[in-house]
Subunit: 431 residues, 2 copies
């Protein structure tokens, strides 16, 4: 692995120096090769599906493993849109004359070598590898082991097409063994960025065991705050979507906060909606006044304490708490949330402005479901993941999050001594 | 420390929500307070200077510790220019209609809580604290222990002026004990970013002992490549400036690469220049053909092996190697450098373009000294440090590197289910 990563590091400036046309041509070659090799890919996928069934994997997992002609069509569409996106490299972000004949430019360039560890979803392999190539980054890919056969066939097809199109050898690599992840974590000399996707504990393991910068999110404990000036029907519609539209994802709602002023009106509507949607309820002592025995039973109600506020259920379960206005809601979210996505339901512009200003999360919403936090839904074309870190890229990360910049300075024999002595003076002029 | 950092984390959204005027007023108050309290600050500085002399600290260190009326004037000028700089917060970087009534904005905002650990230089405390406040960040500051008295007086003056002007309590804090650094490293729940400045080993220690993201550089092994198409006199001028103008800094030249085609002409000039500048030479076997005994002695020449290529001398010592063209130079720099600042001397535009494109460093130069890598010289007004990392900010880091962004989405009861079912469709329009 170390040797492979060293070779990739050497290939990375060569890939970084390729022009837009070459990288887009490679994407076209990859698209054609996937189409031409479809039968072999589907056959490999059938092996993975058979294994999954033999291992009695749950139905939703098997659904995600499947790679058929519909999925192929969808990834080919994705590559076509990626080709259309503007090149993120070579943008001149700053062009400044520091003094006569001394010109500073800041130019966008790839990050270099990126390691992506992702769930068992064959379409993810295609998306991630093409996003990395479009942005001039070398990438090492480790997909979920349940799709090892499909991934191997997809990777072979993509890699050979890329090299055939003129991209450097070792621009992409694949890791198949779990043990290789541990080796990868030690390659801080060669790998510039890791993007782990997966369970909370897996992402934390990665973050705690490497010197390589990590981009991503460990968990998504998303909140919705129902303000006293909320449209209560809108609130129900948004929270049911946020909680139930797809329960096992990071932008699903996990904890509801309700202003005490509207709680008496709102709670009966909430309980009815949760019952219909088969969502169980958890709550702290602030919910006691609103609960009768029947409701407790219907919602499989359980009491939680503050140390359980930060819980990511990823299931048809939601916690709730009654709070005293937007200030307490914000304090709760900033303290117990995961800085992912938090929404307020209110018709009051001032309250919304306070919420937008004070909530310290990557995505802060008003009057809509938390489920919108996603690169596709933001119009980024595709995403490699969602970051809850505040450095570099935050929120859904598309092409823009895969580039950095460098400063290029051109002089004519300029020395610092001339400026230190006062013989010359800087006169900054943006060009 | 943990309790202090928790309070600071709570203050950070409040500081983030302050408007430009309030933050600029606070800077004005700070400026006035420093002026009014000058005598007490100078008196505290005299205690530090007396201690430094009693401890026989070297002359250049003592010079850096000094805080007199000249230094005060210079930091007050710095604050005045900082006030003039545009507010880095609240920029709308993206304004997009995702669908009717569903508006996404990306807005710049502070990072939150920043820990800065810096060398014994009182002016650094003023610069760093005011940069952080201008960018809406809370900051905990730990300066070098040799200036503990000056720092205490400066900090008191700055902090009280900031709070008097209306900034939240705990917007700034100071750490005085070395033991507090260890505690700070454990505050990953509350601190968003660490910026350590100091020795290679100190910065590495910080990087290896915390889960908090770290911005900065461990070392600066900067290169200059003298291409075969170089103006040799310009080359000498630039390399002597890069090596000797200030030897103990990260952007000083440490290793020279010389194209073998011009080596016979260049080496005698180089050796003469090094002798005059009292610079000792180190070199690998590639230098043997050019060295006679007299030169070896005059330059206190020593042989180095490839495992010594990555050496930061921070002294009047330089290593050199003869290479075969720009490709070998680039390969050397990318492999043995520290991705800080590397310069080519050449009159050949094509060779320069290759160097600019392939060298993987924060600052890549042509025909000038490496010593220009600095926030002031780039016209950023001030810098908190120089980053050799590729994520977030790279190179000299000014105000812009102290901000992040968040996504704000406003809807009217929008749910994802409507888009998943095909009832509604996104139609992205940038506003």
């Amino acid at each position: 692995m170390k040797e492979l990563m060293r070779s990739m590091k050497e290939a990375s400036p060569v890939l970084a120096a390729t022009d837009t046309q070459l990288r887009n041509n490679a994407l076209k070659e990859i698209s054609k090769a996937l189409e031409n090799n479809a039968e072999a890919i589907f056959a490999a996928n059938r092996v993975d599906l058979d294994n999954a069934e033999a291992n009695s994997l749950p139905e939703p997992v098997i659904k995600r493993l499947k790679f058929n002609s519909d999925k192929l069509r969808s990834v080919l569409d994705g590559i076509a849109s990626l080709i259309e996106l503007p090149d993120p490299l070579g943008h001149i972000e700053l062009n400044r004359e520091l003094d006569e004949g001394l010109i500073l430019k800041r130019v966008s360039c790839p990050i270099g070598v990126i390691g992506v560890i992702f769930e068992a979803r064959p379409d993810a392999l295609v998306q991630i590898s093409t996003l990395c190539l479009k942005s001039g980054n070398c990438a090492v890919l480790k997909g979920g082991s349940e799709t090892v056969n499909t991934n191997r066939e997809l990777f072979k097809t993509i890699y050979h097409a890329a090299v055939r199109a003129g991209l450097p050898k070792n621009c992409l690599a694949q890791a198949e063994e779990r043990s290789q992840i541990k080796e990868l974590l030690e390659c801080d000399e060669y790998v510039d960025l890791l993007i782990p996707r997966g369970s909370n504990s897996f992402v934390r393991y990665i973050m705690d065991n490497t010197r390589i910068p990590v981009m991503g999110h460990a968990d998504g404990v998303c909140h919705m705050f129902i303000d006293k000036d909320a449209d209560l029907d809108m609130a129900i519609r948004c929270l049911i979507d946020a909680k139930t539209q797809y329960v096992s994802v990071c932008n699903a709602l996990e904890m509801l906060l309700v202003d005490y002023e509207i709680a008496p009106d709102f709670m009966p509507k909430l309980f009815d909606a949760l019952k219909s949607a088969h969502v169980s309820l958890r709550g702290d002592d602030s919910l006691i006044p609103y609960l009768d025995d029947e409701t407790r039973e219907a919602l499989s109600y359980k009491t939680i304490t503050p140390d359980e506020y930060h819980t990511e259920y990823l299931d048809y379960i939601m916690s709730a708490r009654v709070v005293d206005g937007v200030s307490e809601a914000v304090a709760h979210i900033n303290r117990y949330g995961s800085h992912h996505t938090d929404s307020i339901i209110t018709n009051n512009d001032e309250t919304a402005a306070i919420f937008f200003s004070l909530v310290d999360s990557a995505n802060v919403y008003r009057n809509c479901s938390t489920r919108f936090a996603d690169g596709y839904r933001y119009g980024f074309g595709a995403e490699v993941g969602i970051s809850t870190g505040k450095l570099h890229a935050r929120g859904p990360v598309g092409l823009e999050g895969l580039v950095t910049y460098k400063y290029l300075l051109t002089g004519h024999g300029h020395t610092v001594a001339d400026y230190a002595s006062g013989k010359k003076h800087f006169r900054f002029t943006d060009l």
